[in-house]
């Protein structure tokens, strides 16, 4: 369960997020919508700990807003940033291994095997250098890598940019499955997506949803 209370993000004198409050239940996925500059990315980065912010963030029963980013990863927050952020010089499997950093050593092998099973297209490319993957495969790798540690909260920033329709459908399907696993999922997208419940953002605030 993800709970955000009055989150504010400032970069110097620029207010990127001006007091946002919302909840996401476990097993649910929501779409964070809004144009460029509306604060979606800043909001997700703040929840993940990459941007300093005021306000409260709760994951389950634990409050995480005082923790550094790597500690939040250990606390069950997984953030997939936008753009191509795979570790290009490492293989697919090695990328996943890095994803297992916060897991106890004994569970690593099972978690990797699990991830490869869930993403068959990655399994066939296990030993391939990540830099050689296509756009869609790279996006899948980033999501798979974030899932290895079994997070309670998954945040994804604009996963569909530049992907083919086929890749989009695949990623969409994967996100649905993840939610079914019990994680709370937040996806930032420019426009409302499918039938996902929507939290629209405008100028750093949650806009009034016009019925």
């Amino acid at each position: 369960m993800l709970r955000v209370r009055d989150l504010q993000v400032r970069y110097g004198s620029v207010a990127a997020v001006r007091g946002v409050t919302f909840d996401v239940e476990p097993g649910r996925a929501i779409a964070l919508t809004g144009p460029n500059g509306s604060g979606k990315t800043s909001l997700l980065r703040a929840i993940a700990g990459l941007a300093s912010a005021d306000g409260e963030v709760w994951v389950g029963e634990g409050r995480i807003d005082g923790l550094a980013s790597e500690a939040r990863a250990a606390a069950g927050v997984a953030f997939v940033p936008d753009g191509r952020r795979v570790f290009g010089d490492l293989t697919v499997e090695q990328n996943l291994l890095v994803g297992a950093t916060t897991l106890p050593r004994a569970r690593t092998r099972a978690a990797i095997a699990n991830a490869l099973e869930r993403f068959p297209s990655l399994a066939t490319r296990r030993l391939q250098r990540a830099a050689t993957l296509s756009g869609g495969e790279g996006q899948l790798l980033m999501i798979a890598r974030a899932l290895v540690a079994g997070p309670q909260v998954l945040l994804v920033d604009e996963p569909f940019q530049g992907l083919s329709d086929e890749a989009v459908a695949h990623v969409d399907q994967v996100l649905g499955v993840i939610a079914a696993d019990g994680a709370a999922v937040v996806v930032a997208v420019p426009e409302p997506f499918g039938d996902l419940p929507e939290i629209p953002m405008r100028f750093g605030e949650i806009a009034e949803v016009v019925a």
Binding site: S69, A73, A74, R85, F87, D89, L97, V98, T101, T102
Partner: protein
């Protein structure tokens, strides 16, 4: 001809030391973007500890080596905790300047504890072998073996262990690595510790062939900077190759052009050459590209 071969071979051994120091510089830089100016100083300090253990206290080599290497690890961690860690939210440039401060502090420690006079370390092994008419001293062979061992060790750690992969990942994309739990603090600490240990090995291997003074290894460090530069501060294989090459260059100059001061300065001239050859010309267009 035989002189040439011996000179080149001797240079390769000398280059091992440069390569090790350069590897230490590169490992720290690729993951933390900090250029550790105290790398030579750390190597010096650890070598003096080895001197203290073997020459002053008379420990056997088999005991001194592991003890000093472990101590080197702790010293690396301590150095990082006192200089770099307080600056964790500052930019890499500030932390690099802090390593200059660290170098000065280490300088003081060494001079206060052991004085500024020259010291000597005994050879690790005496005698040698002769292969195809070329004489190889045992000291040199030990150096080569140790360098290969260290190199292989680092390679294995970086590629096969989960922790090492985390460090490699942090080198490519520090933010993405953080999101997976690989924190910059841990990366900084462990690369410093590793660099200190590698520096210790370099110093202990090099010193029997040189003399031990507070500043000797700092001079070698500057040549190692050239090797690290040639590797782009990123690629370990290129760095090691460049280190070996620089060793050969120094050896060749010492044998064939022993004009006053030239052998000592040869390494530095070589660094300047590397700079010119490898230089990344960051001109205005690229500066603008960042905002395009």
């Amino acid at each position: 001809m035989r002189l040439l071969v011996e000179t080149v071979v001797g240079g390769l051994f000398g280059g091992c030391v440069i390569a090790l120091l350069a590897a230490g510089i590169t490992i720290v830089h690729r993951s933390t973007k900090v250029l550790n100016f105290a790398q030579g100083g750390l190597a010096t300090l650890n070598t003096y500890l080895y001197f203290q253990a073997t020459v002053v206290w008379g420990w056997p080599i088999a005991l001194a080596w592991p003890a000093v290497l472990v101590a080197a690890g702790f010293i690396g961690v301590a150095a990082e905790a006192l200089t770099i860690r307080p600056l964790r939210r500052a930019d890499a440039q500030s932390r690099t300047i802090a390593t200059v401060g660290l170098l000065l502090v280490i300088q003081w420690i060494v001079i206060t504890a052991w004085g500024a006079q020259q010291r000597f370390l005994p050879l690790l092994a005496g005698g040698g072998v002769t292969i195809a008419g070329v004489h190889l001293s045992s000291q040199n062979l030990v150096t080569a073996v140790a360098t290969v061992a260290v190199g292989a060790g680092i390679g294995i750690v970086l590629v096969r262990t989960r922790f090492g992969l985390g460090v490699s990942a942090a080198a490519q994309d520090p933010e993405a690595a953080r999101l997976l739990g690989v924190g910059p603090a841990r990366v900084s600490r462990s690369t410093f510790a590793l660099a200190s240990v590698v520096g210790a090995v370099a110093g202990i291997l090099a010193t029997p062939l040189l003399v031990l003074t507070p500043s000797q290894l700092t001079l070698v460090f500057v040549v190692a900077l050239g090797a690290a530069l040639a590797g782009g501060f990123e690629s370990l294989p290129r760095t090691v190759a460049a280190g070996l090459a620089l060793g050969v260059v120094q050896s060749l100059v010492a044998t064939y052009a022993p004009f006053s001061g030239l052998p000592q300065a040869a390494g530095f001239f070589a660094v300047l050459v590397v700079l010119v050859v490898v230089r990344r010309r960051i001109d205005l267009v690229e500066l603008l590209r960042g905002t395009a």
